[in-house]
C-alpha cells in the first residue's frame, strides 16, 4: 500500500493518491493511511503509466543488445508500465510459440507489461501471412501485427492482412517504406544527403505507402496504424484520411520530434535511423500533428544496438536509436516547453491513446478511484544532461548524449507496486 502525497495529477492541483490492492483506492486532499508507505510527491506530476506501441526488446536472438529483462527495466525507468515488443527477433515472432515466450519473459521480469507484436508475414519475408489468428488466441493475446523493419509492400498481402485481423479486432502497424525507392538508402534525401554523398531515403517512399494503405484500410473497413511517421507529407495524408472518418492511427518517435538530418554531417551513425531524421519543416509539422491529434501517439522505436554496430563508417552501421529512458523528457522539451501540449495532452498521447490502439484494457486509464494503479511520478523541474553511462538499457546508442533535457522520472507504479522509486529501478 502506497500513499502518494501532494502529486499534481496531470499537472493540476496537488492531491494525495492512495494505491491499494493494485488499484487507485482514494484520491483527495489530506488522505491518511497508517499502514501505507508514504511517497512525498511535492512538485511532482502524476501521469498514467506510459504505454509504448513500438519497442525492440531484441530477445530472443540479440541478447547482447537488450533482453526482455533489461529492456523492461529501461521502460520502467522511463515511466512506462506497458510496452509492445516488436516482432523482428531471431527467431521472428511469427508463431504462437515465440510470442508466448516473450510474453512469459515479460511476466517473469515484472518491470512492466510486455505485449508481443506478431509478425504480419512469415519470417518478415513479405510473402505469406504468418498465423495471425494463432498469435491472437495465444496466452499473449496479440492484437498488434507488424513486420516493422520491413514494409508489407505487396498490396494484396497488405489488403488481406488488414481484412484478416478484423476477426479479432487486431490492427496492422505498417512500417511505411517503399522498398525500391529506398534501396541502399542511408539518410533523408535532400540538401544534406546530396552534400554528404549518402544515398537518399526520399519522403515519397513513406508517403506513397501511407496513401495506399489508407485507401486499402478504407476499402476493406479495417484498422490501420502507421509506425514512426516522419514527414510533413505523411501528416497531410493522415489528416485527409482521418477527415474521411477512416480507422487510421499513427505514431511519431521522440527523435523525430526533436532532431534533424543535419546531424548526419558528423557521419556518426548514432544518428542513423529508419525512417531517417528529416528536416526542420518536417519536425515542425510532426509536432503540430501530434498536438492536434492527427498523429495519435508517441512511440519510442527503442532500438538497442551493441557498440560495435555503431562504431563504424556510416553505411555499414545499424539503424536505430534507444529511447525508452529519454522519451518523456524529449516530449516535455518538444511539446510542453513549446506550449503545444499540456500534461493532460501528454498523458493522452503517451498512455491513453496507445493503450486504446493496442486494445489494452488495464492500461492508459485516468488516475481515478477504481482504475488500475499504473502511474508515473515525474519531476518537471529537474534539468540534466543525458548521460548514456547512467542508462538502465543494455545499449548506449542514444542520439541525445550530452544534451540537456528537462524532467526526470521519480517513480513508476505497476498495478500498485513500485517498479521505480527515487529514480531507481527496483
Amino acid at each position: 500500500m502506497f500513499l502518494i502525497k501532494g502529486a499534481r495529477i496531470l499537472g493540476g492541483a496537488p492531491a494525495d493518491i492512495l494505491l491499494r490492492d493494485g488499484v487507485v483506492a482514494e484520491v483527495g486532499a489530506g488522505l491518511t493511511a497508517p499502514e501505507a508507505t508514504v511517497v512525498e510527491a511535492d512538485g511532482l506530476i502524476a501521469l498514467p503509466g506510459l504505454v509504448d506501441l513500438h519497442t525492440h526488446l531484441r530477445e530472443p536472438g540479440r541478447e547482447d543488445a537488450e533482453t526482455v529483462e533489461s529492456g523492461t527495466r529501461a521502460a520502467a525507468a522511463g515511466g512506462y508500465t506497458a510496452v509492445h515488443a516488436m516482432a523482428n527477433t531471431e527467431p521472428v515472432a511469427d508463431t504462437a510459440g515465440v510470442v508466448e515466450q516473450v510474453w512469459r519473459l515479460g511476466r517473469e521480469a515484472g518491470h512492466c507489461d510486455v505485449h508481443p507484436v506478431g509478425a504480419v508475414t512469415r519470417g518478415l519475408e513479405g510473402e505469406r501471412l504468418a498465423e495471425l489468428g494463432a498469435m491472437a488466441d495465444s496466452a499473449a493475446r496479440v492484437r498488434v501485427f507488424s513486420d516493422d523493419g520491413h514494409c508489407v509492400s505487396d498490396a494484396v498481402l497488405m489488403r488481406r492482412a488488414l481484412e484478416y485481423v478484423k476477426a479479432f479486432d487486431g490492427v496492422v502497424a505498417q512500417h511505411a517504406q517503399e522498398p525500391r525507392l529506398t534501396e541502399h538508402a542511408q539518410m533523408n534525401e535532400g540538401e544534406v544527403s546530396g552534400r554528404l554523398g549518402l544515398a537518399g531515403w526520399p519522403a515519397v517512399a513513406e508517403e506513397a505507402i501511407i496513401a495506399r494503405d489508407c485507401l486499402l484500410a478504407a476499402h476493406v473497413g479495417s484498422r490501420l496504424h502507421v509506425c514512426h511517421v516522419s514527414t510533413a507529407g505523411s501528416v497531410e495524408i493522415l489528416r485527409w484520411a482521418k477527415s474521411k472518418g477512416w480507422q487510421v492511427t499513427a505514431e511519431v518517435t521522440p527523435h523525430h520530434l526533436l532532431l534533424t538530418d543535419e546531424l548526419a554531417e558528423t557521419y556518426d551513425p548514432v544518428y542513423k535511423v529508419n525512417p531517417p531524421l528529416r528536416t526542420k519543416a518536417d519536425v515542425e509539422a510532426l509536432r503540430e500533428a501530434l498536438a492536434d491529434g492527427t498523429i495519435d501517439c508517441v512511440a519510442t522505436d527503442h532500438a538497442p544496438h551493441p557498440a560495435e554496430a555503431k562504431e563504424t563508417e556510416w553505411a555499414p552501421a545499424a539503424m536505430g536509436m534507444i529511447g525508452l529512458e529519454t522519451a518523456l523528457s524529449v516530449v516535455h522539451e518538444a511539446m510542453v516547453e513549446t506550449g503545444l501540449l499540456d500534461w493532460a495532452g501528454v498523458a493522452d498521447r503517451m498512455s491513453a491513446r496507445p493503450a486504446r490502439i493496442g486494445r489494452l484494457t488495464g492500461q492508459g486509464r485516468p488516475i481515478e478511484v477504481g482504475a488500475p494503479a499504473n502511474l508515473t511520478l515525474y519531476d518537471p523541474a529537474a534539468r540534466t544532461a543525458v548521460d548514456p553511462a547512467a542508462f538502465v538499457s543494455k545499449s548506449r546508442n542514444t542520439p541525445f548524449a550530452g544534451l540537456e533535457l528537462p524532467g526526470r522520472v521519480h517513480a513508476t507504479f505497476l498495478r500498485g507496486r513500485p517498479t521505480v522509486l527515487e529514480g531507481k529501478v527496483i
Binding site: 540538401e191 554523398g197 554496430a309 563504424t312 563508417e313 553505411a315
Partner: protein, 355 residues
C-alpha cells in the same frame, strides 16, 4: 590550415592558394635528376586503401617518398564489421604504430571523417564513397591555373554522373572558393535532388554551355548506371553528354579538356578528344604527385616555404639524395623549424643546379 584534409570545404581561399603556390615551387624539383627532398624524413605516412585505386595510391606514395617520408601501404578491401577488422580497430593499430599522416581511400562516404576521430595524425581524404576527393580537386585547379592563369572568373563546366561523383563535389567547393564559375551538366537523373542549393549553375543542355566554357571536365560514367534506369542506353548518353570532335570545335580556342580518369573512351569522351593537345589528362596525373606533395608537406611538415630561403650549409642533403646522416630535420622528429631548414637546404641545391 586545418589538421586534416577531408573536404574541399576545409580549405579557405588562402589555404587553397598556399597549396597551389607550394605545389608550384615543388614542381621545380620534378625536373631535377634527384627528385627527393628530406622534408618529411622520419615521418610515417600510411596509405590506407579500402578500395582498389592503383593510380591514386601510387600518386600519394610517390609524393610521400619524394619528401623522404616512410610510407606504409595498407590495403584492405571490404570494411564492414562483418568482413573482419573494423575501421576503428585499424585506426587504433595505426595509432599504435605512430602514423603521422593517414591517407585514406574508402568506399563509404564519411570514413575519413570517422577515422579523424580515432587517430592523432593528419587524415587526408583520397576519395570517400560518393562524398569527396579533395586532392583531385586541388590537382585539377593546379592544372587549370598552369594552363589558364588565375581562376577568378573562369568558367568551368563539369559533365557527367554528378550524383555519384566525389570529384564533382570537391571541385564545386574548391572552384567556388577560388572564384571560378562552375556549371554542372548531366541528365536530370544524375543530379542530387537539392543540387540547386550548390554554389554553381545546373544545365541539361551540354551544347548550350560549350561556347561559354574555359574548361570542360568530363566525368567517368559507369555503365551499370544504365541498369538502374539513370539513362536508357550508353549510346544515348554518349550522344547527349559525350564530348566528341564536333563539340570540341564548339569550345573557345583557349579552352581545355580535363578528365580525372580512368576514362571510358567512346562513352563520355571520344578518343580523338582525349588525345588532342587541348586535353590535360596526362598532365593531371603528373600534377597529382606535385599537389599531393604540397598537401603532405603543409599538413605534416610545417608552414615555412617548401623551397627557397636563406643559404645555409650547402645542398648536401639534396645532393646525397636524402642521406639520413645529413640535414637538420632528421634527428629531431617533429621539430618544424628544423624541417624548414632541410627544405631550405634542398632549395639551395636546386638553385645551384638550375644555374
Amino acid at each position: 590550415m586545418k589538421r586534416h584534409l577531408i573536404s574541399a570545404a576545409d580549405l579557405t581561399r588562402d589555404d587553397a592558394l598556399l597549396i597551389l603556390d607550394t605545389a608550384e615551387e615543388l614542381s621545380r624539383i620534378a625536373d631535377r635528376p634527384i627528385k627527393k627532398l628530406p622534408t618529411l624524413r622520419g615521418r610515417t605516412v600510411v596509405n590506407l586503401f579500402f578500395e582498389d585505386s592503383t593510380r591514386t595510391r601510387i600518386s600519394f606514395e610517390a609524393a610521400a617518398k619524394r619528401l623522404s617520408a616512410d610510407v606504409i601501404n595498407f590495403s584492405a578491401k571490404g570494411s564492414s564489421v562483418s568482413k573482419g577488422e573494423s575501421l576503428k580497430d585499424t585506426a587504433l593499430t595505426l595509432e599504435a604504430m605512430g602514423a603521422d599522416g593517414v591517407v585514406i581511400r574508402h568506399n563509404a562516404s564519411g570514413a575519413p571523417h570517422r577515422l579523424a576521430g580515432w587517430v592523432r595524425g593528419s587524415v587526408v581524404n583520397a576519395g570517400d564513397g560518393t562524398h569527396e576527393h579533395p586532392t583531385q580537386a586541388l590537382l585539377d585547379a593546379y592544372t587549370m591555373r598552369r594552363r589558364l592563369g588565375d581562376l577568378d572568373g573562369r568558367r568551368v563546366t563539369i559533365v557527367g554522373d554528378i550524383l555519384h561523383s566525389r570529384v564533382a563535389r570537391s571541385n564545386v567547393l574548391l572552384l567556388n572558393t577560388l572564384g571560378a564559375d562552375v556549371t554542372l551538366v548531366a541528365p536530370p537523373t544524375l543530379f542530387p535532388v537539392a543540387v540547386d542549393t550548390w554554389p554553381c549553375e545546373v544545365a541539361y543542355d551540354f551544347d548550350a554551355v560549350l561556347p561559354k566554357s574555359d574548361v570542360v571536365m568530363m566525368l567517368r560514367v559507369q555503365q551499370e548506371r544504365m541498369s538502374d534506369a539513370f539513362f536508357p542506353t550508353v549510346r544515348e548518353y554518349s550522344r547527349r553528354y559525350g564530348l566528341d570532335a564536333r563539340r570540341l570545335s564548339a569550345l573557345p580556342e583557349h579552352a581545355i579538356v580535363m578528365h580525372p580518369g580512368p576514362m571510358n573512351r567512346g562513352v563520355e569522351i571520344a578518343a580523338e578528344v582525349a588525345d588532342s593537345p587541348r586535353s590535360t589528362i596526362v598532365e593531371q596525373v603528373a600534377n597529382g604527385v606535385t599537389v599531393r606533395m604540397a598537401v603532405l608537406y603543409l599538413l605534416l611538415g610545417g608552414s615555412e616555404p617548401a623551397i627557397g630561403g636563406a643559404a645555409r650549409d650547402g645542398g648536401d642533403a639534396a645532393r646525397d639524395g636524402g642521406d639520413v646522416s645529413r640535414g637538420g630535420a632528421i634527428r629531431d622528429r617533429g621539430d618544424v623549424s628544423r624541417g624548414g631548414d632541410a627544405i631550405r637546404n634542398g632549395g639551395d641545391a636546386s638553385r645551384r643546379e638550375d644555374a
